[in-house]
Each structure stands twice: as structure tokens, then as C-alpha cells.
């Protein structure tokens, strides 16, 4: 017991001192700084620089440009970490889902909280979908993007599970399988967008890079930066849309699995057909 206490005290105090030393030795520069760091200056200067199209990302939003263009591979691997975490959740919950007895209209009406809460939840749900889609699809123009939009969308299933019941969601086809399909579609979209320049290069006999967004000195392929005079940021818009689907569906999937009542889970393990009561 004493050794354990000593070890944890050493770890806590050591990490405290390490972070404090890092700040005191100004490893991150003077905090708060008054000037931009050179790396930040490079990204901010080139993200929408029309005079140097070999370095630009065709997006006025520097954060999205870093996330999906300058540091695109970082984000690609972070997406794979996300994919593995969700898949691990599903695998930990690997039970054969029997076909559920659908609840009737009257049963649906009697489930969950009062009618006022349910109606308000439905209105709020519509607003959440609109806002999260707007966050995700304007990611190349305003603060936002696929990750933030997907996280905003993930509020919706929690709200519905609280106000109504998870079985109402399942009756509306928001089930494990449909969410898996939607999430795989999102990941497929990311994969397609990543190799899209390569495919275009093969067809047009041009050199191209994986995950290339705009023209480079030795690869003359660039995805459209504007469509109908609207700034699309090349691959940024497609990647944001796919990530929105993947994150939103992935979180919905885990919330649906997590909210399965313990009694129903036991019934499923015993292989019975289950209904809501």
C-alpha cells in the first residue's frame, strides 16, 4: 500500500513539475504570445493565397485547411482510430439481435415522457439536424467541419432516447445495422476522396499524389475549388461531408447499443424474441 501511494505521488508531482518546467523554459514560446509562430504564419498566409497556388488549400478557414489538407494524413489516421474504437464497441457487444416485435402505435404513444416533452424533442431534433449539417457543410468557409458537425448530430439520439425510448428509434429504422451501413458509407466516401486525384491522374495520364487537394509543382491535378461560384475548397467539402456521416452514425450506433436495458440484454442472450415490455 505504501509503495503504491509513493509511486502515484511521484507520478503526480513529476508530471506537474514537467509541465511547469515546459512553460517556464518557454518550450511553447511566451504564453500568451503577441506574434504568430512561424508554422502558424505559413498556414495562415497560404491557405487562401491566390498568388501562390502551389501552396494554397482553397479554403479561407485555416483550421479546416490544416485538418484536411496540410495535415491530412494525421486526420486520416485519427479517423482510423475513431473507426477502430467504434468497431471495438460493436465487437464487445457482439450478440445476435433477434427480430424485434414492432410496437404498435398505441404502445409507442405510451412510451417515454409526456406529450409536451416529445413534441418539443421532435422540433429540437429537426433544428439539431439542420444546424449540424450547416456546421459540417460550411466547414471550408466558417468555423466547423465534419468532426464538429458529427458531434453535434450525436446529441440527437441521446435526446430521443431520453424523451421517448430507444425502441422508438429502432422502430424508425435507426438500428445497429442501418447505422453501420451509414458509417461505412462515410468511411467509403473518405477513402474515395483520398484516392480520387490518383484516379483522375490515371485517366488523364498525369502524375498525382494520394490525398492531393490543389495543384502542386509536379502534379497538375486539382479538385474544383469553386462550384457555381461557391467556394468548395476542393476535397475539403467532400471529406467534411463523409466525416460528418461517419462520426454522426458512429456515435449514434454506440448510444443505441449502450442504452439497451439490462433485462432485454439478458433476454437476447437467452435467444428470446423481445418487445418493449
Amino acid at each position: 500500500m505504501k509503495a503504491k501511494t509513493a509511486i502515484s505521488l511521484v507520478v503526480i508531482i513529476g508530471s506537474l513539475l514537467a509541465i511547469s518546467y515546459g512553460i517556464a523554459a518557454q518550450a511553447t514560446g511566451i504564453i500568451p504570445q503577441t506574434d504568430l509562430r512561424s508554422l502558424a504564419r505559413f498556414y495562415s498566409q497560404n491557405t487562401e493565397n491566390l498568388n501562390n497556388k502551389y501552396l494554397w488549400a482553397a479554403s479561407p478557414e485555416a483550421v479546416t485547411a490544416i485538418v484536411w489538407d496540410y495535415r491530412g494524413f494525421d486526420t486520416l489516421f485519427e479517423t482510423s482510430v475513431f473507426f477502430l474504437a467504434i468497431i471495438a464497441c460493436v465487437a464487445a457487444f457482439e450478440v445476435e439481435m433477434p427480430t424485434r416485435v414492432k410496437s404498435s402505435k398505441i404502445e409507442q404513444r405510451n412510451q417515454g415522457l409526456s406529450i409536451i416533452v416529445k413534441v418539443v424533442t421532435k422540433i429540437a431534433g429537426l433544428i439539431i439536424i439542420c444546424v449540424s449539417a450547416s456546421i459540417a457543410l460550411h466547414g471550408q468557409l466558417t468555423p466547423g467541419g465534419g468532426f464538429q458537425g458529427g458531434a453535434a448530430l450525436a446529441v440527437l439520439p441521446i435526446l430521443f432516447i431520453m424523451a421517448m425510448s430507444r425502441f422508438v428509434l429502432e422502430d424508425k429504422n435507426v438500428s445497429r445495422n442501418s447505422m453501420l451501413v451509414l458509417r461505412s458509407l462515410g468511411l467509403l466516401g473518405i477513402g474515395t476522396t483520398v484516392i480520387l486525384p490518383l484516379i483522375i491522374g490515371l485517366v488523364t495520364h498525369n502524375p498525382a499524389y494520394i490525398m492531393q487537394n490543389q495543384i502542386k509543382p509536379d502534379a497538375a491535378i486539382s479538385l474544383p475549388s469553386t462550384i457555381f461560384d461557391r467556394m468548395m475548397g476542393g476535397s475539403l467539402w467532400m471529406l467534411n461531408l463523409s466525416e460528418y456521416l461517419a462520426v454522426g452514425a458512429g456515435f449514434t450506433l454506440t448510444f443505441i447499443l449502450l442504452s439497451l436495458p439490462e433485462s432485454v440484454f439478458k433476454k437476447i442472450l437467452e435467444g428470446e424474441k423481445y418487445s418493449t415490455h
Partner: protein, 139 residues
């Protein structure tokens, strides 16, 4: 990069110190709390304190300060220069926004594991789990 007197940066120093203290407290929670869910909560606090710290690293101590977004379509060199003089550092923001979502997915996975532990042992207290294991082995 010129240095600013400490009296002017009081608030920033305050936020940095409090985020470091939060890191220490959450480390205490991760190491000392016996309940698995409490450990997971401490871990989320640890991640959030780290994210706040990363965001404050990118802050700029100037008066007209703006988010790192160009507001003009097809900007000229002068536009970009005036943007550079007010915009904050975009790099920490880009790191944090992915870290939040990935962190949440990993936390969800840990919650799933804790749920499975609860289904097997009927408790989430690490000490009680050890006792239960010993009891089952003796049988």
C-alpha cells in the same frame, strides 16, 4: 517576440495554472479512485484540461484579435497581411478539434468495457472485483 509584464498577463497565467492544477487533480482521480466509472470521469477531465491548455497556447495577447478565418473572397496581399496581424494560431485548434471527438470515441469504448466487467462481476469497484476473482478461484 517581445515579453509582456506579468501583471498584464494575469488572466492567462491564471488559466494556465488552473489547467495544470486540474491535470494534477484528475491524475489523482485516475490513480486513487477505486471505482472504474470514477476513473473514466477523471480521464475525461484530464483530456479536457489538456485541450484547454493546448488552446491557450494558441492565444495571442493583442487587442483586435480574430479567429483564423479570412473574411474576404479572393484576398489580395494586403488583405492577407492585415489578417496575419490579428488572427490567432490555427494549429492548436486543428489538433484539439480532432482530439475531442477521438477522445470521446475512446471513452465510449472504455464505458463498454466497464459495462462488460459489471455484467461479469456485478460490481465496478476494483478491490471488490479482485475479491470476487479470488472467491471464484477458490470454488
Amino acid at each position: 517576440m517581445k515579453s509582456i509584464p506579468l501583471t498584464e498577463t494575469f488572466l492567462a497565467v491564471y488559466i494556465i495554472l488552473s489547467s495544470i492544477t486540474t491535470l494534477a487533480i484528475s491524475l489523482y482521480g485516475i490513480l486513487y479512485k477505486r471505482h472504474l466509472i470514477k476513473k473514466i470521469i477523471a480521464l475525461t477531465i484530464f483530456g479536457d484540461a489538456g485541450n484547454i491548455f493546448a488552446t491557450i497556447v494558441g492565444f495571442r495577447y493583442i487587442f483586435p484579435v480574430a479567429p483564423p478565418i479570412l473574411t474576404t473572397e479572393s484576398p489580395s496581399a494586403a488583405d492577407i497581411n492585415s489578417f496575419l496581424s490579428v488572427a490567432v494560431d490555427p494549429v492548436p485548434q486543428a489538433l484539439v478539434l480532432t482530439a475531442i471527438v477521438i477522445g470521446m470515441a475512446v471513452i465510449l469504448f472504455m464505458v463498454f468495457l466497464a459495462l462488460q466487467v459489471f455484467r461479469i462481476y456485478g460490481t465496478l469497484d476494483t478491490k471488490k472485483i479482485a475479491e470476487e476473482r479470488k472467491r471464484r478461484e477458490e470454488q
